[in-house]
Symmetry: C2
Subunit: 351 residues, 2 copies
DNA sequence: AAAATGGTTGCATACGTATGCAACCGTGAT
DNA sequence: ATCACGGTTGCATACGTATGCAACCATTTT
């Protein structure tokens, strides 16, 4: 099973290897007749140029590395699909990595860099500024998606989680809720931390000092159990802000099926993300929509700009979320949300 | 920004380039002292071996191509995550492609092969035997996941959709349902076709000739609308088999919130897949569990065997699904399902 | 002491493509 | 007819690593 190379094609077409190469290089200096001869010979032999050899020669691979924490987390598949298809459309390939529970991102980076990726998108995982610099030094600019590094030494695109947390605090207080609780996401995820911080800060600023905090981990089960614990207390909360929709679903099911309560009559529940299921009548969840599409666009835009100019100073782009008002929470009527991003949907054009 | 190569390291360490190469090749013939010298020099220079150059030299890339129809389809993210992590653990990388709505798999294959992948997993998309042979000829064995090619000329791992369809037919008839309907998945997906075929064939074999078929496309919205149409008929069905869980969720919501019916008192609903949400109390869906974990294991196993022996005759592996009995359907008590695969969960070890 | 053995090392080359450079060709201008 | 010029082509080399082969060394065997 001998591999067919450009030399074989050249021989058959009666030209030099250079000419074969040029026939496959758009914009190269080659006559139409030569190109036709070459392409015909190539087809006859079943020749496909080797991207590996080309990469070695040109010093770039056209490969973008994507490092994703957990692919199964809500809306990550959506992000991944949009990324991949946009990159494909831009003539680039995606080398995908997922950090297993026990592994650090830094170990993976070693591998990623060995494959000489042209650039790198890291989703829902952080890297140190030093590692980012190391990537730059190896010629691969990095953009963080949904994470950022304080001091802004790394390119990053992120939801404004703090501001969104503050918004929810305002809304719940404005609607007259008295006993307010928060169900956390994964303990030290920056998204969770920021949402909590904005929420608690704003509550405190408005003189509401007691907020019960239940631990969670961005799963349905955690939301269910946390809500059950909350709703079985004697000082049962009348409003629960969940750090994610998926936990909010668990919380609603706990309220209804484990505690026999009504939502929002007995307790208001607010989520975060606006997953497609949030619109299903079973939940009809009031939630903060993460501006995924805008984030994806911003990330690709930033990445492509950095591919051109790797040494430009890092940018950090913060995009606001927006409230999507449905039926799971009592909220003031007068509030109107600023225009939200499009919802997650197959047809959305990101690039 | 000069790239640091093995030659630079060799110079600093006072050895030959070959020795540097060997220091990074497990099992190569090199003394402990030399290896240490090299590794130290490499660390000092920030050297990382180039996987590209290595690939060119060794004639294999350690890259597996993964072609996935829609990443956002139910349980695909799960499959992808398991694949990626298992491949990573086996020291291989994943080049991921997703077929956009308008593109054919065959065009993508061209690209995939240019990157000289060592092997190829294709999920929820089919390729012709000719293309599979072409891949083999280029040194990349192919395994289809969740699809197969008739005539069994391509390696494939698949749920036994026909048999599962027959099972559901039996169960619904045994429970005494009279007006039975089927909500389809994506029109010409083989999974949809096979489920329908098994279901209808078995109904017919048992003398039940009338089954209303509503079109669908594997989405919540389609399930919702299809069920609404069904349930507004004067000869309202008393049982609906949905080609997927996600459609079943839509169907249940339509029954409850659009038609004011009770499930399963007024209508039995059965799904397919056993998504995590099927176990949530809001749905509590009776469904056929797709044996994803077994399928993933079988696929990886088959792939790894073919990487060793690319020319072995193709295998087609069919894995049975199992009924997961919950509360959305009236079914005979006596039926006990054979042992099911583990449910989809983060902790499941696939490799 | 000589020879055989096994472990290390370096040399030279292969892997497949891209591209700078010089050579070449034909065309139109002078 | 000569020259300049732009478009094509081939030659030669670079890209960074792996590896067969021969040379080398230290150790053990005879």
């Amino acid at each position: 099973m001998k591999r067919v190379t450009s030399i074989d094609v050249a021989r058959l077409a009666g030209v030099s290897q250079s000419t074969v190469s040029r026939a496959f290089t758009p914009g190269a200096s080659i006559s139409e007749t030569a190109r036709r001869k070459v392409l015909q010979a190539a087809a006859q032999l079943g020749y496909k140029p080797s991207a590996i050899a080309r990469s070695l020669s040109t010093q770039h691979t056209n490969i973008i590395g994507i490092v994703m924490g957990r692919i199964t987390s809500p809306f990550h598949p959506y992000v991944l699909e949009k990324f991949i298809q946009a990159l494909q459309a831009a003539g680039r390939q995606s080398l995908l990595f997922s950090t297993p529970p026990d592994q650090e991102v830094d170990d993976l980076l070693e591998l990623v860099l060995q494959y000489r990726v042209d650039g790198l998108v890291i989703t829902s995982a952080t890297i140190s500024s030093e590692m980012a610099d190391e990537c730059i030094r190896h010629g691969a600019p990095v953009v963080l998606f949904n994470r950022y590094v304080l001091g802004s030494s790394v390119n990053a695109v992120c939801t404004d989680n703090v501001e969104a947390g503050r918004l929810v605090a305002n809304l719940l207080l404005d609607a007259g809720h008295k006993r307010i609780a928060f169900i956390e996401g994964k303990a030290n995820a920056s998204t969770n931390l920021d949402r909590r911080k904005g929420f608690l800060d704003r509550l405190r600023e408005r003189g509401h000092l007691s907020c019960i905090i239940e631990p969670g981990d961005y799963t349905y089960e955690a939301g269910f159990e946390a809500a059950r614990r909350l709703l079985e207390r004697k000082d049962r909360p009348d409003a629960i802000f969940c750090a994610s929709d998926i936990e909010a679903f668990g919380a609603m099911d706990a309220a209804r099926y484990a505690c026999g309560l009504s939502v929002p009559e007995d307790v208001s529940i607010i989520g975060f993300d606006d997953l497609p299921a949030a619109a299903w009548p079973s939940y009809n969840l009031t939630t903060i929509r993460t501006p995924v599409n805008r984030m994806i666009r911003a990330t690709l835009d930033l990445l492509f700009r950095r591919l051109e100019e790797p040494d430009a100073p890092p940018e950090m782009i913060l995009i606001p979320g927006a409230l999507i008002k449905r039926e799971s929470a009592r909220l003031p009527d007068e509030y109107v949300s600023p225009p939200a991003d499009e919802p997650m949907a197959a047809g959305v054009e990101v690039w």
